[in-house]
Symmetry: C2
Subunit: 347 residues, 2 copies
Amino acid sequence: MPKRRARGGKTADAPQRPARYPTAMIIAEKLGVSKSTVSRALKNDTSISETVRRKVQRLADEIGYRPNAAARGLITRKSGIVGLIVGESQNPFYSEQLDRLLIHLAERNLQLMLFRVPDGGSVGDVIPVVLQYQLDACILASVSVTTQADRMLAAQELPTVLLNRVPGRSHGSAVLCNNMDGGRLIGEHLLDCGASRIAFIAGPENASTSIEREEGLRLSLEAAGKTLFDKAPGDYSFDGGAAAMRALLANPQLPDAVFAANDIMALGAIDAMRSAGLHVPHDVLVAGFDDITAARWPGYDLTTVAQPVDAMLSRVLDIIKNADAGFANGETIYLNGKLQIRGSTRV
Amino acid sequence: MPKRRARGGKTADAPQRPARYPTAMIIAEKLGVSKSTVSRALKNDTSISETVRRKVQRLADEIGYRPNAAARGLITRKSGIVGLIVGESQNPFYSEQLDRLLIHLAERNLQLMLFRVPDGGSVGDVIPVVLQYQLDACILASVSVTTQADRMLAAQELPTVLLNRVPGRSHGSAVLCNNMDGGRLIGEHLLDCGASRIAFIAGPENASTSIEREEGLRLSLEAAGKTLFDKAPGDYSFDGGAAAMRALLANPQLPDAVFAANDIMALGAIDAMRSAGLHVPHDVLVAGFDDITAARWPGYDLTTVAQPVDAMLSRVLDIIKNADAGFANGETIYLNGKLQIRGSTRV
DNA sequence: TTGAAAGCGATACCAA
DNA sequence: TTGGTATCGCTTTCAA
């Protein structure tokens, strides 16, 4: 007597529950071959006779067989899934970047799982969840990585890449836009335009991107024997940019150029100036950073630094692929942005 | 002699490969209990002694044990993952919606896999990939569902919900904003503002959302004994809205109000009017649909219909949950939007 | 309340 | 080139 089976057995005395979807076993039975053969036939790198390969392939296509990713991942220890951890942010730059990321991933047959850090929480809150899924790698963007989270990640065997975040003490890799260089490009350009009273609208206090962009701006000013004229704190949001601009306008002497640490704040700043009856670029030059779509809208026509998004993502995926192959990973890559001169600084 | 093991066995003669992360088996061994017990202990609904439960729980927390989602999914046939299929689109509305979706999912302990239909492709292209992952459900947004894809999905046991898409012949469910009613709201409002020559800027030709919004507009006009004054084709993009507006401006007589089928086109239309020296709202009233963030920017201050995003997503998740429980699903839910009156129609 | 054992569906080793 | 079999890590009967 055959062994008894708890579920879905194939013995006549057990109730048959039809599979919810075709499995390799079903194909094997229909074709009178072993499931090993079916498995081999469907990835055309292992030794198999062409006749059998085609036979299996045809039936598989016919019944719409798709190997179960979970089962495969269990044994191969590869899920084909990359995780992306994002924070709360209405910055359009991230959604534009996300769209590009999906394209890069698709090119390499990878899928994406998206994790969002809860409002007011930190990366550490989602890491336990992330780890349940056998991700091939994990990208962190638009979130600040606490040292605690840093340690949690370093303790795992999950290859991690920071996108536009300065790496902490972990052994993960990072790909960043050269923010300092970008800040310098803007500074030099504003000086070229004849500006002498240049103000900076900063992002959140601890945002490395903002700090570096400011540093680049300062360096270019120093090189020209000048200093930063004014500075207002912002928060990388449209409203924050507008508020910062109003703060700058409240001072007795106005700047003749403003560099906002990102585009969305620059747009807010422009709106605030217009409300105050000022004209861009005639009264004040304005520049941003990121080159989001709205920066190209004629109503703003914003000079900015375009982040090399595709190049950055390409490097991110290279790192993921190498980590996959078992190479040590712990590189930090800076890629230069490109100055986009538009109407907001054209006098 | 014990059975030979190919990999990672526990017999002394086989080479030991340490687990890459803690498993239930490891906890079981350390605690001298069976892995069944560990499994039971961690979901506190099965019968287990409180002593053992706490003991297991503590060690699990200590070594950071997280059950392998793939292995669990293999047996439970639930992955805890919901898929979202999106098309190519730079409409900010979708990224704002995505952010909300992540929040709704997190509340129910669900994760998200994101699939993007390749440019120029159709949903049918990604369905085979989607099916490899044992998703609990699948949401289709911002993609047109071909009848072919419709059939592919209907043939699967994958609960599917269309978001703002009119359901085809499949047995899937759909949640939509009441676009017709929204169009009516805009029409009535524009008439209230004294407009008499109302033009419409349409979305892509086959977009049901655009067709329905137009229909609502027409109904409200008819009710007032009027007809649509003019219409220009758009494509749901900023540039498309601007181009459509220029087309309207090229006609001998100008409209005194314009309703764009979505916000992003309305913004483009406003920019185009300003470039042409026209003033909004004094020369022309403008209204959109969606209530994206940029609609609130002071530079646009756009009157629009706010889609009830949270209510819609809430219904989507209810449907998913019910489908999960095995209830038949084939409902179509319309939720009314809310008119947001702003400066672009305030005279 | 607990443990042993049978799978979930696939891959990969080994021997034939 | 093929089939048999052991596993991946977990849940779930069934028996104790």
